[in-house]
Symmetry: C2
Subunit: 139 residues, 2 copies
Amino acid sequence: MNQNLSILKKNNLSVTEGRRKILELFLERGDALAHADIEKQTEGAFDRVTVYRTLQTFVDKGIIHQIPTTDNAILYALCKDSCEAGHHHDEHVHFVCDKCNKTICLDDVTVPNVKLPKGFKPSQSAMIVKGICNECRGN
Amino acid sequence: MNQNLSILKKNNLSVTEGRRKILELFLERGDALAHADIEKQTEGAFDRVTVYRTLQTFVDKGIIHQIPTTDNAILYALCKDSCEAGHHHDEHVHFVCDKCNKTICLDDVTVPNVKLPKGFKPSQSAMIVKGICNECRGN
DNA sequence: GTAACTGCAAAATATTTGCATCCTT
DNA sequence: AAGGATGCAAATATTTTGCAGTTAC
């Protein structure tokens, strides 16, 4: 079975053109996408509203997660299998390339613990590293 | 001299009602503010556009810095003295309290280095920790 | 006096909601 | 057939831009 099909089925989502296509985009590209990227990539095949709703659905189901960014845009990226609905495990490092501008999930790099001042109790943490990615390095 | 006056002067900005007031807000509150917060706190004393422009000016001058957030809003917080125009040193940890929802700069907690996969060259990093802050702890 | 800042109007952009229709199961 | 997903229209929210009047120095 196609990977995107199985992901949708596993999450009790009906399989529609839009969901398949958007999920496929994430699977193909491997980096994080903004709403605007998805609109561009799908070239108006789906209504702007459908894209909003699809992304929201995927976030709710734990298929994708949001990535914090300094600039305006909200980015989304695929979750690992360990994510479940309402319970994300996205405590890995996100890398933003200054050159190609891609945002990549470094799934294997976990966010280190830091010593917080007295009284602060951490529950979750996120980390963003900027720089040059492995693909742009050689060029 | 007032602290906000000296900050403005130091950055060659003319001292206006709006700039003084917005800077004062940051100095008083100590936590990070979104554009919407500032509008609410100043209760329409200044045009919405003025607030946008003032924040942009402050960012350009290195008086405040933007903080990445998981949800939509862009947050701003005061920079330490070591920040200069066009050259931020905001590599400290930002703490978001789940209870009071404030975002606090932990200026003394520096972002630890992480080992990146082969080929990735870091230039800058940011970190966000969620949890319960010191003030909400006791309550 | 002059350059810079502000407010207003309006354009451009982004996001949300309601509802009728169509599609998946 | 029934429930959910989509598209369209429109409401709402957010951000940017131009310009004329005002203010800081």
